[in-house]
Amino acid sequence: MLINSAQSVVADALRGMAAAHPDLDVDVERRVVVRRDARDGGRVGVVSGGGSGHEPLHAGFVGYGMLSAACPGEVFTSPVPDQMVRAAGAVDAGQGVLFVVKNYTGDVLNFEMAAELAEEDGLRIECVLVDDDVAVTDSLYTAGRRGTGATLFVEKIAGAAAEEGAPLDRVASLARQVNESSRSFGVALSACTTPAKGSPTFDLPDGELELGIGIHGEPGRERRPMMSAREIAEVAVGAVLEELAQIGPADGPVLALVNGMGATPLLELYGFHAEVARILAERGVPVARTLVGNYVTSLDMAGCSVTLCRADEELLRLWDAPVQTAALRWGR
């Protein structure tokens, strides 16, 4: 691994972000990355965070039109409440703050505690839970669906609404709409290696893959002999469309995120996207916008995920709105 030590990985990365992005205010000690002009213009703050190892999520999405601040935890470990409280304080311009929380027990508990503390400090806080991963059934027998690729959609669209001056309630309800309209499915072709463990988190022999993985190096729901990109796309898109159908009848196009888990070459990812696009076309699902790349990663895991979000005109407009962050940039 390209590291100094397992202990220093997150602090080192934050020092690097500070050096690379002068428009970010990076508190390496307290682990908060804040957009320098977060408080100018009296906007609603949008704060997210989670375990590290998913870069560019979240810190790479801090900036104009997206996140006001991000709180990176240890690798695959949700941040602690102190970080979110500090971030909320740093970005609040009197209009309140939205917490974007991926649905993992740790993230939920820590953000909840932070919300309580920040509210005690007099801030208005709303939380939106992201739970888009269809590989996990949302039932009494699980901690609920995981938050994965849809996080990018939620952060982009909530950030755009906040940038426009939408009030907290509206920013929060848009964020919830995006989450409820999004579903994801992920596949691993290799396990990943956390700095602390130093060896792959599970054993996945060459020639096998895991279907229905999350983004924390945990095994998926099912192991299979290696499949072609075409077959993998069938499974992933099929699973996502099936769950989207349960929300209700389609009423518009989708936003598509074809996401690499970290170690899958862009060459392969584009080839995989060709299959995704073909399948969507065959099933009559119009795609309004597409993003192909490594956005919500799992360290050095090889694999990919597909996220689709049903987008009405308002969501599309907010998706297209200018954004200027380390990892996502257009229109500005």
Partner: protein
């Protein structure tokens, strides 16, 4: 009666056993989790020991545990940070402000702490979580500290055949069966350390 030093020793003993067992906890967290439980608790209890070292020596037992709990919440993250942090904070609060507490008071306070964990995490025994060690462990305190250790250890072992219904392991469904829960394992360390401090080797 147990004074503040007793609780400081307990926390130091937990820190020592977490340090010893960190790799095993992370290892257990690999097949059914995200391979961080050992490093999470190591980071947390190292910070607890440092925080308690900086706390005024006049602190009451309840204050010791509350500071330990707050420190875990501020340094661990993940699911175990808020859960163990709440366990110790609530236990500390229940102990009140007296300088010495009886074993019965400690037992009642720990039971309140375990309830708080169940409430916060929404889990029940059988869900393959730390509660599967904490509940039987704390219940057995009525017998003896050593009985609590054994009950917690058995509780941790009993998670092996369980199918997880809370936390990350629940994502695996059927595939979570056959693995011991890391949090239940660390809970057994917590109560084991308590037994060590309350009934030291020599006294056995």
């Amino acid at each position: 009666m147990r004074d503040a030093d007793f609780f400081r020793h307990w926390m130091a003993a937990v820190a020592a056993s977490v340090e010893r067992e960190a790799d095993r906890l992370t290892e257990l967290d690999s097949p059914i989790g995200d391979a961080d439980h050992g490093s999470n608790l190591l980071r947390g209890f190292t910070a607890v020991v440092a925080a308690l070292g900086a706390q005024p020596p006049t602190a009451a037992p309840g204050e010791v545990l509350q500071l330990a709990g707050r420190t875990l919440i501020s340094t661990v993250g993940g699911a175990s940070g808020p859960l163990y942090g709440t366990l110790l904070r609530r236990t500390g609060k229940a102990l009140g402000e007296s300088d010495e507490v009886s074993d019965a008071e400690l037992r009642a306070a720990l039971a309140a702490g375990v309830d708080a964990v169940a409430q916060l995490g929404g889990a029940a025994p059988g869900d393959k979580t730390m509660l599967d060690a904490l509940e039987p462990g704390v219940a057995a305190l009525g017998t003896s500290y050593r009985a609590a250790r054994v009950a917690a250890e058995n509780g941790a072992l009993a998670t092996v055949p369980m199918r997880a219904r809370k936390g990350r392991a629940s994502y695996l469904g059927e595939r979570s069966i056959g693995h011991q829960d890391p949090g239940a394992t660390s809970s057994a360390l917590l109560l084991g350390a308590l037994a060590d401090v309350a009934e030291p080797e020599g006294a056995r």
